[in-house]
C-alpha cells in the first residue's frame, strides 16, 4: 500500500490557501510554523495537515516536516470553517 501525499503547486498555493480559509492570516503574518515557530509566508510555506481537528502549518525546512501523527500547534481559520 502506498503512502498518499497530497500536493499543491506553488503557483496555485494562494488560491488553495484561500479555499482552505487561511490565506489572509498568512498574508497578515499571523501563521507560524508548528515546529520552529517561524512566520509562514507564501514563499516559505511547506505543508499543511489536520491534527485533532485543527489545521497545522509547517515551513519548508526539512527538519520541520512532522511524522505521521503530526505535532499540534493549531492555527485559527478565517470565517466559520473548521
Amino acid at each position: 500500500m502506498k503512502n498518499i501525499i497530497s500536493a499543491v503547486h506553488r503557483a496555485e498555493l494562494a488560491s488553495f490557501l484561500s479555499r482552505v480559509g487561511i490565506l489572509i492570516s498568512i498574508q497578515n503574518g499571523d501563521v507560524h510554523c508548528a515546529t520552529c515557530g517561524s512566520t509562514i509566508s507564501l514563499e516559505n510555506f511547506g505543508a499543511i495537515t489536520r491534527s485533532d481537528k485543527e489545521l497545522v502549518v509547517y515551513c519548508n525546512s526539512l527538519k520541520c516536516v512532522p511524522e505521521k501523527s503530526g505535532s499540534t500547534r493549531p492555527i485559527e481559520v478565517e470565517g466559520n470553517q473548521k
Partner: protein, 365 residues
C-alpha cells in the same frame, strides 16, 4: 537480448519479415515489462509529460511530470535498499489537489498537503518528498522513543541514502548545501549522533542491520507504554553497531547486544588467518553460544579478500571455500534459518573500498 548477429542469422534463414517480427516482439516484451512495473512506467510517463510540457507549457503537464518523476524515483530507490521482508520506508504516491476557483477545500484529519515547486526546482521537490516519506513512514511506531538529535541523524542519512539511489546529482547537491550541512553545523548533539550513523553506514550496517532491527523492535513494543529503557535500547543498539563499525584490527568489541526487546549477535568473518588456522568450528561454537544466550537474530558479515587474492591466490581460494562451507554448515548444523543475504560495497577501517556479504539468520526455538 537481441543482438545484431542473431538478427542477421534470422533474416538469412527465415527472411526479412522474421527479423522484423523478432524486433517487434522484443519491443512489445520490453514495453510490457515497463508497463507492468509501476515505477518504471512512472518514469516513462514523466518523460512523456515533460515533452508535452515543453511543447505546450500547460501547468497540468508540468504537474504530471513533477509527481510521476518524483514518486517513481523515490519508489525505485527504496526498493534497492531493503533487506528484510518489508521495504523501508513505505512507497509514496503524489495526488495533486484539484485547483477549482471559488469552492472551499476541507483538509481531512491526517491528510498531508505538501507544496511543490515548479519544474525548474525539481531537485527541491525530490528532496522535500523524500524527506516527507522518510519522516512519515520510517521508524513507524517508535519515533516517539527517540531523542530528537538521533532521529534526525537517522532521517538525514536515510534521505541521503535514498537520494544517492535516485541518480539525481542536483537533488543531492541541493540537499547537502541547504539541509544536511546547515543541520549538522548548528547542533552538536545531532553532529555527534550523525557521525556515529555515518560510520555505521560506511561499513554497510545502517540499512542492513540498524533499520531492520528498529523495524523489528517497533513490532515488539507496539502498543506498549513508552518507557525510558526503550530509548536506552535504541541508543544502545546504535552504540553497539558503531563500536563494531569502528573496530580496529585485533581490537575486541562486544558482538552481542541483548536487552529486553533487542537480542542480536554479529559474527565477523574478517580475520583471514583465524579461519584458515582454526577452521569454521569457532564460528559455529559462537553461534551455538549466542543461541543459548537467547539471541533471536544473528548477522554474519563476511569481508571479501580480493587483496589477498592478488598476494596469495591459494590462501584466498581456501578462505573462499571455508566461508562457503561455513554458510552451508550454519544451515545444516544449527537452529538458524537464513532470511536474507546481501552483497554490497563498503569502506574498511583503512578507508579502502571493499566488497562484503551480510547474511541474516533467525534463531529458531
Amino acid at each position: 537480448m537481441i543482438d545484431l548477429s542473431s538478427l542477421v542469422g534470422l533474416a538469412k534463414s527465415y527472411g526479412l519479415y522474421a527479423a522484423v517480427l523478432a524486433i517487434l516482439l522484443f519491443v512489445i516484451w520490453q514495453l510490457a515489462r515497463m508497463l507492468l512495473d509501476e515505477e518504471k512506467s512512472g518514469q516513462f510517463r514523466a518523460a512523456v509529460f515533460r515533452t508535452l510540457f515543453s511543447l505546450t507549457g500547460k501547468r497540468n503537464h508540468e504537474k504530471q511530470y513533477i509527481s510521476n518523476d518524483v514518486s517513481s524515483r523515490i519508489n525505485l530507490a527504496r526498493k534497492r535498499i531493503h533487506f528484510s521482508s518489508e521495504i523501508l520506508p513505505e512507497a509514496v504516491r503524489v495526488d495533486w489537489v484539484k485547483d477549482s476557483q471559488g469552492s472551499t477545500y476541507d483538509i481531512n484529519e491526517g491528510q498531508f498537503v505538501v507544496c511543490l515547486d515548479p519544474i525548474a526546482c525539481q531537485e527541491q521537490n525530490i528532496v522535500r518528498l523524500t524527506n516527507a516519506v522518510v519522516s512519515r513512514t520510517s521508524l513507524a511506531g517508535i519515533r516517539h522513543l527517540f531523542e530528537k538529535p538521533l532521529v534526525m541523524a537517522i532521517d538525514l542519512n536515510l534521505i541521503r541514502t535514498l537520494l544517492s539511489l535516485t541518480n539525481n546529482v542536483k537533488a543531492m547537491d541541493w540537499f547537502f548545501q541547504n539541509e544536511y550541512s546547515p543541520c549538522i553545523s548548528t547542533d552538536a548533539a545531532l553532529a555527534d549522533w550523525n557521525a556515529k550513523v555515518c560510520d555505521i553506514d560506511e561499513r554497510g550496517l545502517f540499512t542492513r542491520i540498524l533499520l531492520v532491527e528498529f523495524a523489528q523492535f517497533a513490532k515488539r513494543v507496539f502498543g506498549m507504554t513508552p518507557r525510558p529503557f526503550m530509548t536506552g535500547e535504541i541508543e544502545g543498539l546504535v552504540r553497539f553497531l558503531h563500536a563494531i563499525s569502528t573496530k580496529r584490527y585485533g581490537q575486541d568489541v562486544p558482538l552481542e547486544f541483548i536487552t529486553a526487546y533487542i537480542k542480536i549477535a554479529v559474527l565477523l568473518v574478517a580475520d583471514t588467518s583465524k579461519i584458515l588456522r582454526d577452521g569454521i568450528n569457532p564460528y559455529l561454537n559462537s553461534i551455538a553460544i549466542n543461541a543459548q544466550k537467547g539471541v533471536n537474530t544473528i548477522y554474519v558479515i563476511i569481508w571479501n579478500k580480493e587483496a589477498l587474492g592478488a598476494r596469495d591466490p591459494r590462501a584466498y581460494q581456501e578462505f573462499e571455500q571455508k566461508t562457503q562451507l561455513l554458510s552451508r554448515e550454519i544451515q545444516s548444523k544449527t537452529r538458524l534459518k537464513k532470511v536474507g543475504e546481501l552483497k554490497y560495497d563498503t569502506i574498511d577501517s583503512q578507508g579502502k573500498k571493499r566488497k562484503a556479504k551480510c547474511l541474516r539468520y533467525l534463531v529458531e526455538s
